[in-house]
Amino acid sequence: MIYWNSFSDFLHMGGYGLYVWGSFGVTALIMLVEPIIVARQQKAVRVRLKRQIRAESRGTE
């Protein structure tokens, strides 16, 4: 079923390795980094809002 004869054939991509892996590499990088950034933002917002709510409730008591 597997089309490739060897792993180096696979990496070489018939001479198009640079273009194919340049495409897949940048795509993979973006699809890894974007969710990490979004998750961090979510965390930061939660921390900031919690602090604000605590400060406000202290102010009213």
């Binding site: 079923m1 089309y3 490739w4 018939g14 001479g15 194919v20 940048v26 795509t27 699809m31 917002v45």
Partner: protein, 248 residues
């Protein structure tokens, strides 16, 4: 504030926030499954292309990224129309949550296209109809993000951004039909509803990768919309309860 009557329960952030939170892991799982299957078929099983050699394998991310860049824009324009017509709170948040992912898809479409164009056409870039209209799409995403970020009042930002989205939607059919309407270096579409010019394994690899990108976009947009909801609704009881409850 809290007695606000919600005609559309789904459009209430208080309802949508936990729902999105529950669904996110499933969309990640689906994205991973479709992605692994698509990469297996596209990169390991699919035969070489008789014209383009192995270079054609860029199609497995180029086409999904391009589809999603257009599709996400249409969804954003849909939410913009709903928001402008019914003044619903959720619609602007949805559009804002989708924009960065749409911009990244447009960028990936251009990036993989350049890396495909160089070996096949001998150039990274040409100012032809398909490429130029996709570049305009990227600028529309960036313009929308800059515009909404520049307006402090969230509801007014939604309205201004929504108008931009609706005006810019004219660009989508231009991208899609550009290869038919103009003489262009870009090849015609490989897939349409009635017939496909691709080998079956190639087609399956591409469709699976498109599903992977689609599920990814939903997962990451849901994550982002939850952050936007917390921020915008920070004065409501549900956000206070949510934050104090310490849920995820």
């Amino acid at each position: 504030m809290n007695d606000r009557f919600n005609l559309y329960k789904f459009a209430s952030p208080a309802t949508f926030y936990p729902l999105a939170g529950t669904l996110i892991p499933y969309f990640w799982a689906l994205s991973a499954i479709f992605g692994l299957a698509g990469l297996y078929i596209g990169m390991l099983v699919a035969p070489t292309d008789f014209q383009q050699g192995e270079g054609y394998r860029i199609i497995f991310i180029h086409v999904p990224a391009s589809w999603l860049s257009m599709f996400i824009y249409l969804i954003m324009a849909f939410w913009a129309a709903i928001g402008l017509a019914f003044n619903t709170r959720l619609s602007g948040m949805m559009a804002q949550a989708l924009a960065p992912t749409g911009a990244l898809m447009a960028f990936l479409s251009l990036w993989t296209g350049a890396l495909w164009g160089k070996p096949m056409w001998g150039t990274w870039w040409v100012w032809d109809a398909r490429l130029t209209s996709e570049l305009i799409l990227l600028f529309l995403y960036i313009g929308y993000m800059a515009l909404t970020a520049a307006i402090d009042d969230a509801r007014r930002a939604d309205k201004a951004g929504g108008l931009l989205l609706l005006v810019g939607v004219v660009n989508i059919p231009i991208i899609y039909f550009s290869v038919k309407w103009w003489n262009t270096l870009h090849q015609g579409s490989s897939v349409n509803l009635t017939k496909s010019s691709m080998a079956e394994t190639m087609l399956w690899g591409m469709l699976l990768m498109a599903m992977c990108f689609w599920m990814y976009s939903i997962a990451v947009a849901f994550m982002r919309v939850r952050t936007i909801m917390l921020e915008r609704e920070r004065n409501t009881d549900w956000v206070k309860a949510e934050l104090e409850g310490g849920g995820k």
